[in-house]
């Protein structure tokens, strides 16, 4: 199966090269048969990558310990679930997995548009094939996952050897999130290839109008959704597995996943400027280019160990390949832009500081500044070494200093932006849209201050969260009132109806609401507490309203590891509440590694997070480290809401034609009595 798999990958490379080179020839000659054959070569590439990936997975399932990759990342007793995840637990497999997910996207695009956009698709196909070829080169010649174990025999010839058991999967990865986090993140990273291919293709083809934006919006949103989910799951994994009580450490690889998310988010907003007003065309094209390059950079940082990190793999020789590919991509983009820049002339100018356009402008500026800050902080060791000879790193204070204020400003715009009118907003509409939310947030924040919620950033964050949430609720309420006035249905039914009529706009509001929840959760971090203590059985410790009593400890057998488990009873107001079981797992494979399992009791108000931190060597007492982290659950809930909102926004609008007919009618019938409905229906279709 290993020969089969490596042959499939080699053939995939051949097809990829043909799709790339043949595609360029097809664009020049415009020969219809050539166009068709390169498209089919593109499809064949994808199918062959699928076959290669499934072959490697087959080696895992059959415990083929003659394969070097399987030996390093699996063992007999590893459960089936984690044998799937073992595929992307090492360098070679994860690069193959990158190709695999990219192929899913490419195949979907090739099939979905096979009879459409005939002028544009050959260009798009060439760009996609170019990216695939690069990764297939790595899969075949630099980091092949299909190497076999070999040892020199008596006659000096290398002989194949098979091992009886593998070294096992890294315990840090043996956690359910680790099975779904990488596929999500990779789907995000690879997914931005599609908007990139369309943007570059449209620029090269000088494809008329804003069609490429309409074509790629959904792809960009899908990639963005996966990227968001990947980041969230990664944060949750760090929280639940690493046992340091936090979810985000400004680690280079975490930052790497945030970078394309920031530019991707900026892009999803600024495309609206191009759609509605024909502005920011150059900006949009470059945002897509940068997002794609940051995705490649992210993959590079994760895989190369350029900047040391929790996740980075050992130093390897893929560095120059990635640097070369990013440089080549940048040059291609630059040349394409310089040659075709007249095609990207803006059609309009900014009219007013208080307008939708300007809110988008500032939104983009803030996302970009955040991105530059994170990027420069992450790559600081590399650049400082180049310029000064000293390798200097910056830590969490650097990132927090810059990114917290930016986050709060963006949060503010989240509330303000969607309600400003295009071109110019009247003072009257400002008062109508923001009067109540501002007052509501001010009252609530005052109450919170009186109750002791007094860290400045957290208080500002809470205030803005309340304000933004109020504007969003008000928007839903107003829209639902209009529909209710006509249909007489219940409010919840009207809200659903409203959302389905303009999924993009109201889906966007749901995403914003999700981000509000995330910010609520982040604001809790200022109030974290922790206590650590070596404890005898029967002894207790106090944290917040909880009392923890260490009852006893036991061991839990499992074929793959032995676990030492602490039995911690939790009391609140002297009433027994529950038993928590933080544990240490000792894995029985050749690497003899340990893993920590955190026990978390999570409520909307706070998380009680208990870690068994090993035995104190002096006293031999088990050390219990307990954290009280307020509001963390809101972050995960916000993440779910963001995904739900994106899925909503991806759905087609229902009864788009009826909306216009329906909402104008009551507005016309009672123009004086209902000023709001008309404003709602007039803003229909923006988002």
């Amino acid at each position: 199966m290993d020969v089969f798999g490596s042959f499939a990958l080699l053939l995939a490379l051949v097809c990829g090269v043909y799709a790339f080179a043949g595609g360029i020839a097809a664009i020049i000659t415009r020969h219809p048969l050539l166009v068709k054959s390169t498209r089919q070569a593109g499809m064949a590439t994808c199918v062959l990558v699928f076959i290669g990936t499934f072959s490697l997975e087959y080696l895992f399932f059959t415990d083929n310990f003659a394969s070097a990759y399987v030996v390093s990342h699996s063992n007999k007793d590893l459960s089936t679930f984690y044998k799937i995840a073992a595929l992307w637990s090492g360098m070679e497999g994860s690069l193959l997995f990158w190709s695999f997910i990219l192929s899913i996207y490419v195949l979907s695009v090739l099939i979905a548009y096979r009879n459409k956009n005939g002028e544009l698709m050959p260009y798009v196909g060439v760009v996609m094939a170019g990216v695939q070829t690069f990764f297939l080169l790595l899969n075949n010649f630099v980091e092949s996952p299909f190497k076999s174990l070999a040892a020199p025999g008596a006659n000096g010839i290398m002989n194949l050897v098979a091992r009886s058991d593998g070294n096992g999967l890294n315990p840090l990865l043996q956690y359910p999130e680790m099975v779904i986090h990488p596929p999500n993140l990779y789907s995000g990273y690879t997914g931005f290839t599609i908007p990139f291919a369309f943007a570059l293709g449209a620029l090269l083809a000088r494809y008329p109008g804003e069609k490429w934006i309409h074509l790629t919006r959904k792809w960009a949103m899908i990639a963005w959704m996966f990227q968001s989910m990947g980041i969230m799951l990664g944060a949750h994994w760090a929280y639940a597995v690493l046992g340091w009580g936090g979810y985000w450490g400004w680690d280079p690889v975490e930052n790497a996943s945030l970078l394309p998310w920031l530019t991707g988010t900026a892009f999803l907003h600024s495309v609206m400027m191009q759609e509605k007003r024909g502005m920011m065309k150059v900006w949009n094209v470059w945002l897509v280019f940068c997002t794609f390059m940051l995705c490649i950079l992210g993959t590079f940082l994760t895989r190369s160990g350029v900047v040391s990190s929790v996740h980075a793999f050992a130093q390897s020789n893929i560095g120059p390949w990635f640097v070369g590919f990013i440089s080549l991509t940048f040059l291609t983009c630059l040349v394409a832009y310089l040659k075709n820049r007249d095609y990207l002339k803006s059609e309009n100018q900014l009219d007013s500081v208080i307008s939708r356009e300007s809110s988008f402008l500032f939104n983009n500026l803030l996302f970009l500044v955040a991105c530059i800050a994170v990027l420069s902080g992450t790559l600081f060791p590399v650049f400082s070494e180049w310029f000064t000879g000293d390798r200097i790193s910056v830590g969490a204070p650097f990132f927090n200093k810059v990114d917290i204020p930016i986050g709060l400003l963006i949060l503010f715009l989240t509330g303000v932006g969607p309600l400003l009118a295009w071109r110019k907003t009247s003072p009257d509409s400002l008062k109508r849209n923001f009067g109540w939310p501002l007052a509501f947030a001010a009252v609530c924040a005052t109450v919170a201050f009186a109750l002791g919620f007094r860290k400045p950033y957290s208080l500002i964050c809470l205030y803005l969260c309340l304000f933004v949430a109020a504007t969003i609720v008000l928007e839903f309420y107003r829209g639902a009132t209009v529909i209710r006035a006509r249909s007489g249905a219940s409010y919840p039914a009207c809200v659903i109806d409203l959302t389905m009529r303009n999924t993009r706009r109201y889906g966007g509001y749901i995403i914003h609401m999700g981000m509000v929840f995330v910010f609520v959760g982040l604001s809790g971090a200022a109030f974290n507490k922790d206590v650590q203590k070596g404890m005898r059985f029967g002894e207790s410790m106090h944290i917040g309203p909880y009392t923890l009593v260490l009852q006893t400890s036991d061991t839990k057998p499992n074929p793959n590891y032995t676990a030492q488990r602490m039995v911690v009873e939790v009391l609140r107001d002297n009433q027994p509440m529950m038993i928590l079981n933080p544990e240490k797992r000792h894995f029985l494979t050749a690497k003899e590694e340990n893993g920590t399992m955190v026990a978390i009791y999570s409520t909307l108000k706070e998380d009680l997070y208990v870690v068994f931190a090993g035995d104190d060597p002096e006293t031999n007492l088990p050390v219990i480290h307990a954290f009280l982290n307020p509001l963390v659950k809101w972050i995960w809930f916000g993440g779910v809401l963001v995904v739900f909102g994106t899925l909503t926004a991806l759905m087609p609008n229902r009864r788009a034609v009826l909306v216009l007919a329906g909402t104008t009618q009551p507005a016309a019938a009672h123009p004086a009595a209902q000023p709001l409905p008309s404003s709602v229906s007039l803003r229909e279709g923006h988002d």
Partner: protein
């Protein structure tokens, strides 16, 4: 005032403010990377900087005392005694012969006082290509 000027002011206020904050954060958290051999040649103020050193944990050198963990870090033939005084538990991968990164400042008596330790477990098995031994970390964010 002209619109362009208003936008210009808005944009520059944001950029300048963020630049200033970045500079503050940089001063607070910059950490120099040095090797153990380099540390012994550093003079004056360079010795007082916050720094990060990498090396291998000398076998049998780990002594867990109350409130701190002492061990010896080896690299390039040199040895450096380290005291870890951080509040976080040491990572699961921290053991004899593990590759470790320590962050902190050198003390007067020649010891290195670390408040963060990252460790990557030693590769006991034969060097498989691209073996992933993800280091775990005691590093804690203040987010």
């Amino acid at each position: 005032m002209k619109k362009q000027a208003k936008f210009g002011i808005g944009i520059s206020v944001i950029v300048v403010a963020m630049g200033f904050l970045a500079w503050l954060g940089y001063g607070e958290s910059k950490t120099y990377y040095h090797t153990i051999a380099e540390l012994q040649t550093l003079q004056g103020s360079a010795r007082a900087q916050r720094m990060r050193l990498g090396g291998t944990v000398a076998p049998g050198s780990i002594r867990k005392l109350s409130g701190r963990v002492d061990f010896v870090l080896e690299g390039e033939g040199k040895k450096l005694p380290v005291s870890y005084i951080g509040s976080d538990p040491l990572p699961d991968t921290f053991a004899d012969k593990a590759q470790a990164l320590v962050e902190g400042r050198p003390a007067e008596d020649g010891r290195f006082v670390a408040d963060h330790v990252q460790a990557k477990c030693a590769s006991k098995y034969e060097a498989a290509p691209g073996g992933d031994t993800a280091p775990s970390s005691t590093q804690r964010s203040s987010m």
